[in-house]
Structures are given as C-alpha cells and as structure tokens.
C-alpha cells in the first residue's frame, strides 16, 4: 500500500481521538468519534482485514454515532469537566 497515505490516515486517527476527548461540546465529540471509527475502518481495509473494516464501518461509524447523538439529545450537550 502507499505508505504516505497510511501516515496521513494514522495522524488523522490520533487527531480525531485527541479531539474527541478534548472537545467540550459532546455532540462534536460524537461526530469526531464517528470520524475516528471511519478512519480506523480505512486502516483495517488497508491491512487486508476487510471483514473487520466492514464491521467498524457499520457499527463504529454508523450505528454507535447515532446512539451517541441520541444520548446527547436526551441528556446535556456540555461536559462539566
């Protein structure tokens, strides 16, 4: 695989992970976590684990983001810490 592409995706994964932890707006954190899952899905696909990538795309980037947004909708949008 093209190693430059892998480096870019890896850096973006770390950026998304740190951003999801650091951001104060929980809705933003949920969306960043979805982006993180999607980038992880790309990494799995690059490494040839296509079934894992498929699961990550459907569960991580798809349904769990919706669950997070639904939970934020029913609770509060701001963190206290």
């Amino acid at each position: 695989m093209i190693w430059q592409l892998e480096i870019i995706i890896l850096v973006l994964v770390v950026v998304c992970a740190v951003g999801a932890l650091a951001v104060r707006d929980l809705l933003g954190a949920a969306i960043l976590f979805g982006a993180y899952s999607f980038l992880m899905c790309l990494l799995w696909a690059i490494m040839g684990a296509v079934d894992v990538a498929f699961t990550e795309a459907s569960v991580g980037a798809g349904v769990s983001t919706v669950f997070f947004v639904a939970a934020v909708f029913r609770t509060s949008r701001r963190t206290r810490d």
Binding site: M47, V50, D51, A53, F54, T55, S58, V59, G62, V63, V66, F67, V69, A70, A71, F73, R74, D81
Partner: protein, 276 residues
C-alpha cells in the same frame, strides 16, 4: 481528576508503545499466530465447508461455539438496556401538538383537552417540534428499500464476500433507525413494536442454538453442521455451508432488533412515546 486521567493515559500509552516492538512484524509468516492454526484454515476451509470466505468459515463453523455466545452477549446487552433505561412509570400528560393534515395547521392541545387520537385528519407530532420536511421524508422513503436490500445481500452473501449476519444485521437495524430519523419514532414503532422486537431478538438467538441442538439430535456434535446433510438433502460439505447461513440468519435477527431497541430506549429516555 482530569490530570490524573492524563497521567494514567500517557503512562499506559507509553507502556504499550514500549511493548509494541516485541510483537512479530505485521504479516510475518513465522509469527506464532500464522504457524499454529491459520495454515489449517487456509488449506482446508474450502474443502471442508465449501465457503470461499475463510473469515466466515472460521467465525460460524470452526469457532461457531464462540460466535453463539457473542450473539448471546448482544442479546444480554439489549436486555440490560431494557432494565436500565426503560421507564414504565406513569407519565404526566402535558400539552400535545397535532397537525391538521388538510390545512397543515399545528394545534396545541393543553392538558385535560380532548385529544384527537385515531383521527385520520389529525397527526400527532413531537413536542420538541421538528418542522415537517417533505424532502427528507421522500428521500428517506426512496433510499430505505435499497439499504434494506443491501443488508439482506450482506447476510446472504457473507459466504463469498466480506459481511455476514452481524454486519448485515447492523445495516438492517440502521435502516430502521434511519426510518425513525427521517419520519418519526412512532412510525417505526408501528412497524416494529418494542415487545415484538425483543421477541425477535430472542428468536434469533434461539435459531442459532436450535441449529446446534438439531445437529446434536441428528447424531453429530453440537453445531457440527455436517449432521444436517440428510435433512437438507445435500452432501456433508454443502450442509456445513448451509448451516453457516442458518446461524447467520439467527445472528442477523438478534443484532437488528437489539440495535433498534437500543435506539428506542436512548432516543426516548425509556418512555417510547416520542424521540429524535
């Protein structure tokens, strides 16, 4: 607390990074994982099960017992969310919003008012009111059949391509959640009420376990699909392929309905009346 968490995370992250070089290289053919059982699966899975996708063969046949309990875990997670989040308490009837269909006028009916429930002219809308959007509704209705068809394809075609019961089930559940998002939760609940959804989840687990017990009754080992050959009228190798499909359908049913029920509880705070 935040500082403590940061120190812990950095410490463990450093430890993991320190331990990483001891792992065998990625894709190393001499690593223990690649020399122990993997060669057997790679060489024999097609001849044993007639399933070209080795991952599916390993997941649902060689390690079928493991996957059975994974399905049970998902079912148990759905039940846990039922007990934690479901709110059966009596609900204070506040004012409700209704739309008069022919004119598009929105009415607010205060507490104690006469509710036009079951009237064809009035349509109940959520109190956290989302404006009626024709484009979103129609686009949702157009896309939905294709998502559901793709989900069924993923379940049925898991033998040949990536996918299987779990992924297909999640996609089907996502399609139903999408229906709730593009219309409203009550229309999804009309198609798949909560009780029916949980029963179907239990039926999915039961299909998986039932396939195993059926093999046992027909003289094989538990989840040894080759024993189904006589029942299905095919040779033992194809019987293993068909057995995989049977358990994948069970997994798909359980996963779909658990995902949808989780969405019901989260989006409505356990009330199941109105939500996102």
């Amino acid at each position: 607390m935040r500082r403590l968490g940061l120190i812990t995370a950095v410490l463990f992250g450093g430890l993991l990074a320190y331990a990483t070089p001891d792992f065998p290289d990625w894709g190393d053919p001499r690593s223990p994982a690649s020399t122990h059982v993997s060669p057997y699966y790679i060489q024999n899975s097609l001849a044993d099960t007639a399933v070209p996708n080795i991952v599916t063969a390993v997941l649902a046949d060689y390690r079928g017992y493991d996957t059975m309990f994974e399905t049970t875990v998902i079912f148990a997670a759905g039940l846990a969310c039922l007990f934690l989040l479901r709110n059966f308490g009596p609900r204070a009837v506040e004012s409700r919003l209704y739309r008069h269909r022919p004119t598009g006028i929105t009415l607010r009916i205060e507490q104690g008012g006469d509710l036009p429930e079951n009237s064809a002219e009035f349509e109940r809308i959520d109190s956290q009111w989302v404006p009626y959007d024709l484009i979103i509704r129609c686009a949702g209705r157009l896309v939905l059949p294709f998502i559901q068809l793709f989900a069924l394809y993923v379940v049925a075609h898991g033998h040949h391509s990536p996918g299987g019961g779990f992924q297909g089930g999640v996609i089907f559940g996502a399609a139903l959640i999408f229906y709730a998002l593009s219309h409203d939760l009550r229309s999804t609940l009309g198609h798949l009420p909560e009780a029916r959804s949980l029963i179907v989840a239990a039926v999915g687990v039961l299909i998986y376990v039932g396939t195993g017990v059926l093999c046992l009754l027909l003289g094989g080992a538990f989840l040894d699909y080759a024993a189904l050959a006589g029942l299905l009228g095919v040779d033992p190798v194809m019987a293993r392929s068909h057995g995989i499909l049977m358990v994948e359908i069970g997994v798909a049913l359980a996963v779909t309905t658990v995902m949808v029920s989780l969405y019901y509880y989260l989006a409505t705070a356990g009330r199941l009346d109105e939500g996102l």
